[in-house]
Symmetry: C2
Subunit: 980 residues, 2 copies
């Protein structure tokens, strides 16, 4: 009976398909046409089509349904099996035109005695009726069409060549003269223009061939007429198919009236089979009827069955995100391993895929890996997405440059100011993006460096050491130390940076980003203002006491240096009440009044701009997956969401005309402090021992730079980003070191990889596949890995000085809104974050994460708790002066992670984190581990994301047919089998 | 062969289940336990359970999976069939304890020769091992548990009685002495405390019985041991089941090692079958093995098959929103009609279900319909949801009362002001909710009435007619006319109010609501303020010229009447610069300065409060369906979302302390205008002919009231709201008329149903089913139809005068935010709105609306376009003085709808709208139509929402087995059937 056809099928299928499966068979496009009667007229009307999933013609709606998974009935599959068993099967028929093929089919049927010869003409006539296809029309045509027809549904089936339907030719049905209709068939041999114009063609692979399913009820038959035809050569059979694809297969089912529904289901069943990868292979290679039956049986054996009480058959199931590859089913020998595909290419920790290469050659290997991509590093940059990415990252960079420039200026008495910050960013960024190992990394000033500079300047001032010269020497030492780290392949340490460390670091940086952005939004609000007492609110400039004139000018002397106003101004002659706030302060007046410290509306408009920019960006990003507008338009809006939001809120700000703080860039190229030049001289100002001793602070800087740089690189090189050009940790570090030296000579700030902006850079360059078959989900393909966007960003930063007239319209709150977005976006998709959310969810509502299937919830919570505690400690530390050793604390994170090996089993850690490498002593075990790993995968078919570590070796269970005792009781017989 | 068991099965099943299916069989809870080995120890461990859907134990995660649809393999179903065919089937076994049952099973197996007698002890021993169940633990326990166990996955299977697992007793496995283990079985007879405490019990229906599936691999068998047992009486078998539910069925499958996976699938198959409504019926009623086989075959015939290439078997399918009822499958005779259930109770237009009743008796029938509900009208109000509803609607009502009161006061020189508005709202609302036909309707002032009053007052003033007296007479005439309309059953007209009219009206009202709310948000912003010139901003009070003193006091005389300040104040002695704005104006000073007309921060804080209240309400509503927090907590937050948002933003407003406009209610009960009393006298002030002539304007008011009232009632009574207590159009109108007269006597405004607030009232009282089986979706059950919330709202409105100290903390922008929410929410779910969205969607992204399946897109667009044009015309009209005839324009809408019968086919209109009744001449056709309708439904099984009109009569296709020609060629045989 049926259940045991499995093993025999496997052997049979293997035989049919052949051991070597080198020549892939073409993709099949299947169209199902049903016979429509309108009085005496008949025609074939397209009722469904399959590329991979089913699309049905909605009769009343005159439209295609959404692509959906074909839900069949078991009944129809068994009926189909019977059809193939009893009908005519014509394999490798030489066919050049439909009439000839129809002749051959009918001849065979008559020869087999399946129909009487008197039906020959009638059957041929029916099979040669014209085919009407459902076409999508552009919407403007549909609108123009509106109101034209006021027809009832039946009149839609009239045979006029109206615009809704494309027909090849129109003939009237003359039943009295079959001979005439025989020659005057409705099918032309050439593809019609409608076929050629059909835009659906682009959804079908180029090499595709068609299979046509024809289902109809006729009055002259008293039993079904079934034929399955495979042509020797795929042939374009006129208007048979809606697209100009040559037909290879033909399935015909004609039967007496009254069972149309059942026939229809059989048609859907064969159509679904034809688009099944494995069955279509079988259909191409079958030598006889039995091979086809074996194919059906294999299909039956693999079908997924939903119980009728738990599912409504009327629900159209959306295509899944991923379907198992048919290759698994094709490798017939090990059918048991079905469902263990879904392979992620490279397992192992971040960058771990190239471990071997990286540690035995370092820099040289990095360069070797990068050279082949030189051309594509630029050519891949030419894409509309790049424009958005460049603008987005550019705005992020200059905001950063201005913020850090201002802070550095305060910290170093303008030895390094906004101007230096801009030039340094431009220089370092351009060089790194042009020559670095991972050009997606964006260099920027970071907090720890800022704190270091501040401490260094204070030290210099109190010890009267020349700051710029000392800094130069520290930079040189640090550069040297970096180069030593490069030479000794010290980047080995990143092997110990697992998800735990990565997540801790990037969350912390994101939080800092977010909190900085929010802190900038504080403006005082006048909360005691009462509109009724508006008459009492004022801010007046009060002249200083007459006797104090000389002493008052004292404190204002310094600022006056920078002001164009002449010092010779006669202070006593001033009309004090007419002075502006600045002037008042300048001339030593006192500002008196309850309105002085408030700017009305400023706080709230800033909040609106800040929060508005953020939420509009988020909404526009989401718009990408909405239902509205065509895909192209949506993805454009999604890509440019940040730019659009910035423009919109700059516009709002401009229209409101309130005096919000704006982005002001320097407009002249000169050092911020007039008493320094562009080049720092290495000798002359400090005693000689300073040159040597500076190696000690340089060590701190080196660790700082190294950790900051490498962990950011690890995050960028995450395997989730599917980078294809490989990493270049050594090359990265090499250039960071060189740039340190250069910047030190020029008196510019030092630069290192900026985590959040780099993540934003990657996010703005993500590629998705354009889905091919209708209903297939677009897949994340990877990132546009190129150097062009980075270079452009930094070149733009360099020339920002000339862009000042444009940039001054951008309010700072808008830019901080962008920062907020960057911070929040870089948190998204971190597993740590998902695990924190689990705390708030009752177990039954938790999403089906694979780690939850394999690790007890309380262990997951414990792991998350450890991470939260670490993060809290780091946050507390970074708020103190200890922030300078902040990157060193990452080492602390790695130590904590190492200790967690004691708290958690390796099994749990494999699911929640990665397994730490165990130095050389385990090196030889590596090969074995990988094997273990594979076996693990095989044993857990339900895991869609496999852990990166060995699980306990499972028992491999062959899933053969169950050996039940053959019934000793003669009353127990196999199910009754009525003859066909 | 298999495909043709259908017809014979049908007959057989009918026979098994019996013609009358009166006694329903209990619901089955199924638990599947698998045998676990740990060294020599063995125990049964729960691995999955079914109430309706499958829940699996996640091995590693130690948790229950989400409930999902059981996806089976065809293979396992066929293997199960074989198992039942060849194994032991013991029906109606007398069993009182597990050991005795096991004895019986083993005896039978030995008797049938299926196992040798030497295995008797071993099998019994295995079957009597203890059962370990997966229990959900509350999260705090899990957290406390954290870190306790650092076990590897294998150690989880140890037999200790740890807290994770509940075991009945602990025994060691002594394989050398089977006799001892025989007596010392692990099963106790009483339900354990863990069983009793299991909270899962509440998910299982009370009458439920259990079926236990035991699957295991053992080393002493060489062929499977299969037994299916039905007990004569459901018996609690100790710790066999995780919940204290008596066991009725037992399925045992033991087999040799190596095929555990296959056994597991068979176990899942039988478990899924046992929870299938139809199969469980069969299992209860089966008389022998063949009946069970027939049940399996019926199940197989109904299963839904997913092709392996289009679906990934690893995906767990979420339970669908609705599954077809098994009753359809049970009515075996007409199995073809499967899938046409989903019946919506009453078809026809809104309120159409009770047409017959409504037109032949009107008011009397309404009362008759309402009387039986008197008690439940109050008892159903006691629910926590009512509190939220009352507060929400109360705030809406008083905001409305204040807004309209203010406008009415302006329009009528305070003859009707805020005080009258409050009292009138309270009076009319309370009476209507207490006695009206549809107590969910909220009465309120509406725009057209306001305009009418304004015109009337102007007319009176210019013609020196007494306004209040004229108004009284108009009210009396109008009341009389309403009563005539009630008596003549004029509410018949609502039959012509189809979806088209309804949507047009409610969208328009919503738009007006939204635009009014937004308009209130305009405050001027000082856009020229420059912070630097803050010194020049001021607003000073300038004393009037000395010579103008007397003339200046002139214009301020009138306001001074209401001010407490004494007129004798010496103006010349004032320090003008110290005066507040109000005082300055009062004493005739001039305000001079550029700061006078601005209130800083007011515009923006108002915007933030307004928009914040709106968006927080929307987010909290959405929160109801999020994953976070337990369902109860979420639904509470969802229900109270508006109150929470109002409180939050009142708090923010309070903290910021800005002078936003607040809700000020009158605090004293006295007429707004001091020269009017509380009662209007009907005679004396106007000439006699005015009393008669006032019937003419009254006619306009009556039409106004009638249309406004009835269309709002139609919208409230929409069948989507699933109201159970019926409508009461005549009773509604009766009370509106009476209230008009009363209000006219008291000089209060007139009231009529307010669409938007009524919709909000209904929305806040919606009930959802508490889902029972895990995975079942909650269903919308209807609305808490009661009078309590309405009455409370209006009583609260009445006593608002005493609530003034609390209400004054509520800023008006927050309340307008609530208005915005009401307006937007009342738009949601309108099909018109969905159809407008379709314009923006490419056809392939459009949602699967049933009307899109049956009406061509361009016809849908055309229909929507007509609606949009109508709406635009109405909007334009209502912005002019023509607004007074606004409700009359609804008649215009109905005329447009009537004309659309010429543009659209009845088929299209049936899907997009409702079919208009065609007066008496078609009455006799009604019966016929309904029949047609039913046939249509039968023919279109895929439509989940049937149109309310006849479709062209379809051909009814019986879906029997296809009659294929019996093969004349002897080589074509049925599929080979290897013996079992």
């Amino acid at each position: 009976h049926t259940h045991s056809f499995k093993t025999s099928d496997n052997l049979m299928l293997r035989y049919i398909l052949g051991e070597d499966d080198d020549m892939p068979t073409p993709t099949l496009f299947t169209e199902m046409d049903t016979l429509q009667h309108d009085g005496d007229e008949m025609e074939w009307k397209e009722s469904a089509r399959w590329v991979k999933f089913e699309e049905k013609v909605e009769e009343g709606g005159e439209r295609w349904s959404k692509p959906h998974v074909s839900t069949l009935t078991l009944h129809s599959l068994f009926e189909l099996r019977t059809c193939i068993q009893t009908g005519s099967v014509l394999l490798d028929l030489e066919g050049y035109s439909l009439p000839q093929i129809v002749d051959d089919i009918v001849d065979r049927q008559v020869a087999d005695g399946l129909i009487g010869p008197e039906l020959r003409e009638k059957v041929s006539f029916v099979l040669l009726r014209k085919h009407r296809h459902q076409h999508k029309k552009p919407i403007h045509l549909s609108l123009a069409d509106m109101g034209k027809s006021n027809n009832s549904p039946t009149s839609e089936f009239c045979v006029e060549c109206n615009r809704k339907w494309c027909v090849s030719t129109c003939f009237s049905y003359d039943v009295s003269d079959p001979a005439q209709s025989r020659s005057m068939n409705d099918i032309s041999d050439k593809p019609s223009t409608d076929q050629m114009k059909n835009k659906f063609m682009k959804k079908i692979p180029r090499d595709a061939e068609a299979s046509n399913v024809l289902i109809g009820e006729v009055d002259f038959l008293d039993k079904p007429f079934v034929a399955f035809v495979r042509l020797a050569q795929a042939t374009t059979l006129g208007g048979l198919t809606e697209v100009p694809v040559p037909t290879r297969f033909l399935f015909v089912l004609l039967g007496p009236h009254g069972k149309g529904k059942s026939y229809n289901e059989i048609g859907r069943a064969i159509a679904t089979l034809m688009v099944d990868d494995l069955f279509s292979d079988v259909a191409y290679k079958a030598r006889d009827r039995d091979d086809l039956i074996a194919g059906i049986d294999e299909f039956l054996d693999e079908v997924i069955v939903l119980p009728p009480g738990e599912w409504d058959p009327k629900i159209r199931i959306e295509p899944p995100k991923k379907v198992p590859s048919a290759d698994m089913r094709k490798s017939v020998l090990n059918l048991n391993e079905l469902g263990q595909v879904n392979g992620t290419g490279t397992a192992g920790g971040p960058g771990g895929g190239e471990d071997e290469e990286m540690f035995c050659g370092g820099l040289w290997l990095d360069i070797k890996r990068k050279v082949p991509w030189i051309l594509s590093d630029f050519s891949q940059g030419f894409h509309i997405q790049s424009i958005s990415a460049v603008l987005f990252i550019y705005l992020g960079c200059i905001t950063n440059a201005i913020t850090f420039g201002g802070l550095l200026g305060d910290a170093t008495d303008n030895y390094q100011g906004v101007m230096e910050s801009f030039l340094g960013t431009a220089l370092a960024g351009t060089v790194f993006c042009l020559l670095g190992g991972q050009p997606l990394i964006i260099l920027s000033s970071t907090g720890p460096i800022l704190i270091f500079e501040k401490l260094l300047y204070e030290f210099c001032k109190s010890n009267t050491i020349d700051y710029m010269e000392l800094r130069l020497w520290i930079g040189l030492h640090s550069c040297l130390q970096c180069l030593i780290l490069v030479a000794t392949d010290a980047s080995y340490i990143i092997k110990y940076i697992t998800r735990f460390t990565e997540e801790g670091f990037s969350s912390l940086i994101s939080f800092i980003f977010i909190s900085d952005a929010i802190k900038k939004m504080y403006y005082p609000i006048n909360r005691v203002f009462k509109p009724d007492y508006v008459t009492t609110y004022r801010c007046e400039c009060i002249a200083p006491d007459q006797g104090d004139h000389l002493s008052v000018t004292g404190p204002t002397l310094l600022p006056r240096v920078y002001l164009p106003s002449p010092c010779t101004y006669n202070i006593t002659g001033l009309d004090w009440s007419q002075l502006s706030k600045k002037e008042c302060v300048k001339y030593g007046g006192a500002l008196l009044g309850n309105a002085c410290k408030y700017v009305p509306d400023l706080a709230l408009i800033s909040f609106i701009l800040f929060f508005g920019t953020y939420s509009m960006t988020v909404s526009l990003k989401k718009f990408k997956t909405s239902r509205y507008f065509p895909t192209k338009c949506r993805s454009l809006v999604g890509d440019f969401s940040i730019i659009i939001s910035i423009l919109v809120f700059c516009g709002i700000d401009y229209l409101l005309g309130l005096d919000t703080p704006k982005l002001h860039v320097p407009t002249e190229v000169k050092p911020t402090r007039p008493d320094r030049g562009w080049v720092v001289m290495p000798f002359g100002k400090n005693p000689w021992w300073v040159y040597v001793a500076s190696a000690v602070p340089a060590l701190l800087v080196t660790i700082l730079i190294f950790m900051d740089q490498q962990i950011s690189a690890v995050i960028v090189n995450r395997k989730e980003n599917k980078l294809k050009k490989g990493c270049g940790y050594h090359l990265d570090l090499f250039w960071v070191g060189i740039l340190m030296a250069v910047c030190s000579f020029l008196g510019l700030p030092w630069y290192v990889a900026a985590t959040v902006i780099s993540i934003a850079h990657i996010d703005s360059l993500k590629m998705e596949s354009e889905s091919s078959a209708p209903g297939e989900q677009p897949q994340f393909l990877g990132v546009r890995e190129q150097r062009l966007t980075g270079i452009l960003v930094f070149v733009l930063t360099g020339v920002s000085i000339f862009l000042a007239p444009v940039l001054q319209y951008i309010p700072m709150p808008v830019l901080y809104g962008v920062f907020l977005y960057m911070g929040v976006a870089s948190l998204a998709g971190i597993q740590f974050w998902e695990r924190i959310k689990l705390y708030l969810m009752p177990a039954k509502h938790q999403p089906d994460f694979s780690f939850l299937r394999h690790v007890p919830l309380r262990r997951v919570h414990l792991f998350t708790l450890v991470q939260i505690i670490c993060l809290a400690v780091l946050w507390t530390l970074k708020s103190t002066v200890a922030a300078i050793i902040f990157p060193v604390m990452i080492l602390g994170l790695m130590v904590v992670r190492k200790m967690m090996d004691l708290m958690f089993s390796q099994h749990d850690l494999a699911w929640l984190d990665d397994i730490l490498p165990e130095k050389d002593k385990k090196k030889e075990k590596d090969g074995k581990k990988k094997k273990d790993h594979k076996r693990t995968k095989a044993a857990e078919p339900e895991s869609d994301e496999e852990p990166k570590s060995p699980l306990p070796p499972p028992v491999k269970i062959p899933m053969d047919t169950i050996d039940l005792p053959s019934a000793p009781d003669p009353s127990v017989t196999p199910p009754t089998q009525p003859p066909v």
